[in-house]
Symmetry: C2
Subunit: 575 residues, 2 copies
């Protein structure tokens, strides 16, 4: 008889472990139990199912050759015993037995194991306010709820929705219901920006503008106080500290936390917030028990510290490592760099590594710079800008993070993936500068976006590039008294500068880039020149020249291009 392996949880890490292990050890007896009856589904596909992009829920639990991943599939195709509607309620580590309640019969059942795998996943955070249990208030925690949400949408029962939480899931769900179903949708986020700590303020504003351009209103720095219902127990209103919003659908997208209770009750090491502690082989504090997926604590490879990273993609990678180790192939999951990407209407937004805010908080001497480059050579049709932010450590020159916004499609992804790869291998910006990304005019610029980002970071760390952020610039434009010695020097074509000179008078002057070397003497020497061009590139070049002549200057980070992408009340109207 082969080894007995029991796996608790059958969504992502569980099935991956089970199938890989059965391939490695064909004589193992693998039993996977789950409290649900829909299993092995692509939870990350929920927003696309709700939007209607994915026509039928069964596609989320089918293989790419169109077989439904159900009990029979696991038995016949995979050789894995799957027991659904079984809720694991205890682990007897001495007897090596899992005790589960059969949710159909109500009886307890025992599953003996030689090796046990915990893939118990996560549960959604529920904000501690009145009304979260009203009809019409949903977490986005499983496919049953998604099916119910979509049912209400298709039946025309939803006119006004409030999404609580401005993280990736909240944004994806708002996009799904606001755009395709025409539901009047709002996002309420208690932090001052969308995707807090994940992307910088400029990038968060790009997402916000994109949402607002599609009639999804965003309310940041706003706290939900309660959710009110009508006499029938249906949700009616969301009350925040600033507004009352009518709503017949409320989605709670305020993150998830690990399901670690079973592990904790069995005496396994568990973090303060309930995540199961594992080593690099994904072993818990009991060497015969492994854990993987949303229920475990991982190491952040940038900080070296413990972290929580509930992602379907990581669950799959971890499941494979668990199976390898059980089968005697030593394998490690060393940790995460924290890569994410999402679609917001016609743009892609993503990040890998640390945001500058998080990096500083973690004790790095972190700096960052926005770069605007093209995704292919400017002479090729359909080129589009990439707005990226690179985060580096000043002392060690270590590359810490990369994030940004690109057009829909995969051109931003192509840089993000390379950055994520580099982060895993702990490189400096000097090494990143010569990473050999692919070049041909339909795909990239000769010096690729990511190389440019490394080069600009080098200039920043060498003290050659002195910046102000778009936020500082906006604040000054709106309140000149903040910096009375500042004056904007626009080095673009006169015709690009003209509307700004008309709008802001003597605070905005223009001297074209290629005239600076011969006409710099026209510039005021008693002012700090705020250098303005399209992307920052020409401004930087002008700054270096002016430095040698004793002029004070600061480059507007990312140039005017950034203001096309973020809400900008002072931007002159196009005539």
């Amino acid at each position: 008889m082969g080894m007995k392996v029991v796996i608790i949880g059958a969504v992502a890490a569980g099935p991956k472990t089970a199938c890989r292990l059965k391939r490695l050890m064909p004589d193992a007896q693998i039993t996977m139990i789950d409290q649900d009856d829909i299993i092995s589904y692509g939870g990350c596909g929920i927003p696309y199912y709700v939007s209607g992009d994915v026509p039928d829920d069964s596609e989320l639990y089918s293989t790419n050759f169109h077989m439904i991943r159900d009990v029979n599939f696991f038995k016949n195709a995979k050789g894995v015993e799957l027991k659904t509607k079984r809720k694991a309620i205890g682990i007897d580590r001495k007897k090596k037995v899992v005790i589960a309640k059969n949710l159909e019969t109500g009886k307890e059942e025992e599953f003996p194991y030689d090796k046990l795998v915990l893939a118990t996943g996560s549960r959604p955070n529920v904000i501690p306010v009145k009304g979260v249990d009203l009809d019409g208030v949903f977490t986005i925690s499983n496919l049953h709820k998604a099916i119910e949400i979509r049912k209400r949408l298709t039946q025309g029962k939803v006119e006004k929705a409030v999404v609580i939480g401005g993280g990736a899931i909240g944004i994806e769900m708002a996009d799904a219901i606001g755009d395709l179903w025409g539901v009047e949708t709002k996002i309420v986020e208690f932090m001052p920006q969308l995707l807090p700590k994940v992307v910088n303020n400029t990038i968060s504003l790009m997402i916000q503008k994109k949402l607002e351009d599609h009639n999804i209103k965003v309310y940041t720095s706003e706290t939900v106080k309660s959710i009110e219902g009508d006499e029938n127990g249906h949700v009616k209103k969301v009350i925040t500290d600033k507004h009352e919003f009518d709503a017949d659908l409320v989605l709670l997208a305020t993150g998830v936390r690990p399901r670690g209770e079973l592990a904790k009750d069995a005496g396994l090491a568990v973090s303060s917030y309930g995540a199961i502690v594992v080593n690099q082989r994904m072993q818990t504090s009991d060497p015969d028990i492994y854990a993987a997926g949303d229920c475990v604590e991982v190491i952040n490879l940038i900080t070296g510290k413990k972290a929580y990273a509930p992602m379907g993609s990581l669950a799959n990678r971890q499941g494979r490592v668990v199976a390898n180790n059980i089968a005697g192939i030593p394998s490690v999951f060393d940790g995460v760099v924290g890569t994410f990407i999402t679609q917001v209407f016609d743009i892609s937004v993503g990040a890998t590594g640390l945001s500058v805010e998080l990096a500083q908080q973690e004790g790095f001497d972190a700096e960052s710079v926005m770069i605007v480059t093209l995704n292919k050579v400017h002479f090729m049709p359909e080129h589009a800008p990439l707005y990226v932010n690179i985060i580096v450590d000043k002392r060690t020159r270590r590359f810490l993070g990369f994030q940004g916004v690109g057009p829909m499609g995969d051109s931003f992804l192509a840089r993000l993936n390379a950055a994520a790869t580099a982060l895993k291998f702990k490189v400096t910006i000097d090494e990143l500068s010569t990473v050999e990304l692919a070049y041909a005019p339909p795909f990239a610029t000769p010096v690729d976006c990511l190389n440019v980002a490394a080069n600009v970071a080098e200039n920043l760390l060498n003290g050659m590039l002195k910046l102000i952020t778009p936020q500082e610039f906006s604040e000054w434009i709106e309140n000149p008294s903040l910096h009375e010695d500042w004056i904007a020097l626009d080095v673009r074509e006169e015709q690009s500068a003209k509307p700004f000179m008309e709008a802001f008078g003597p605070r905005w002057i223009c001297l074209r880039y290629d005239k600076i070397r011969s006409e710099y003497h026209k510039l005021p020497k008693d002012k700090t020149l705020i250098l303005v061009c399209s992307s920052g590139t020409r401004s930087y070049e002008v700054q270096l020249f002016l430095d040698t002549l004793g002029y004070k200057s600061l480059v507007l980070d990312g140039g005017m291009a950034v203001f096309n992408m973020i809400p900008c009340p002072w931007y002159p109207k196009k005539s």
Copy 2:
């Protein structure tokens, strides 16, 4: 007075060095000389100019903010003195002077330097046959020739073209003239495949099929013997060892070689084939003379050996390193991994690192495997397959190369760039397996293509996956006597297998993937089962199961999907 720097060559590495250096050392006196008058142009854009995608040649030498990069631009915007129509004819290293001939006056001029930079580029190889100097025979070496080629196309003077050389440039040029101008176009390559040594045979056949689907005929293993002209000296025919092709346009795309004569004559170290020898700081054997771009020899980071890699993207990266070092910022260009990408009609094709053929030739114990995955989750609209090949070293498990084909757009690029990054940092396939590429359903699969490739390579090296190539399979289909004990076991749906069972009789049997575990006893034990599915994934799973029962089996690498992409005479016609 600042440092005097002379730069010979003003296309890619030269201008990059000049502009960066002027930014770093604003008081340096930088003089760039070039024998041509069109300078600083995007040579890689030539095929897109010839095709008409780029409407005007000036776009190839304009900035992305639409300024022409000419003598005035370099003077006014960059502070760099540019002297065109000067051909450097000698370097007096004692006097530190470059001697150049003014091609307009015919006089010799001297350019004194403190530091000298050689960016003398490359020249096209010209095959040693009669007729290469006929009117209508062109190398693709500079923009003047491209302008002339396009002129002939627009004037309707070209009806039949022969491209000699099936490398990336040859393919791009054939695409440009064959598709958009409707010229009857042929490619003649003397090696047995397109992109020899760069991609494997399967991928080269995918390119060939794509070209032939667009009426560009490909003749491999065919040697050009002579080029014949008419009485007026116009090209008329290309004579190979197998054919006579009518042609009124012949393009020689048979690679380039470094222009190292000037360096050699000055006594600098130069390789046997004429490339200038530089250290990692891009210094020649004279520490006051640097070199960069197509004229230098580089190190291949995978083999550790000397290599030649003439690419505009590398020239730019090297130029920056030269400027840094001259300005006292120690910088290195450590070498190349050899990344390339190109568009062939509606597919993208690329490679990074070593092909399996080259890896074996370099002494690696190299193996490779084809993987067919999707560029996004199968339930998302518009998903498309990625056909990739991963190359690994068996002994060290080192990742050696990655290549493949994807749809047009950047989804293949997104994996290629990550692979190129990993190659630079010398990683194992085990590390590659957990590289954290970005995942969301519109962008990737939970286990990304590149991670899957690493996983499959691991299975291969562990001896779990036993393969035959599509070529071996095709040979057996066409000639059963090659392997009389082979029988194809199709594990797909019966309806997918049916046309093949009809076409090949008892040599092709079907037992659906999910029936194998219960009905394996129906399979012949005295045969070697050639396992066939769409991509190889199900076949691999079946192989592991059958192994335990003593069946002999081999997995068809890449599955049937590959045969949709390559010329396949035996493929049953769709009814």
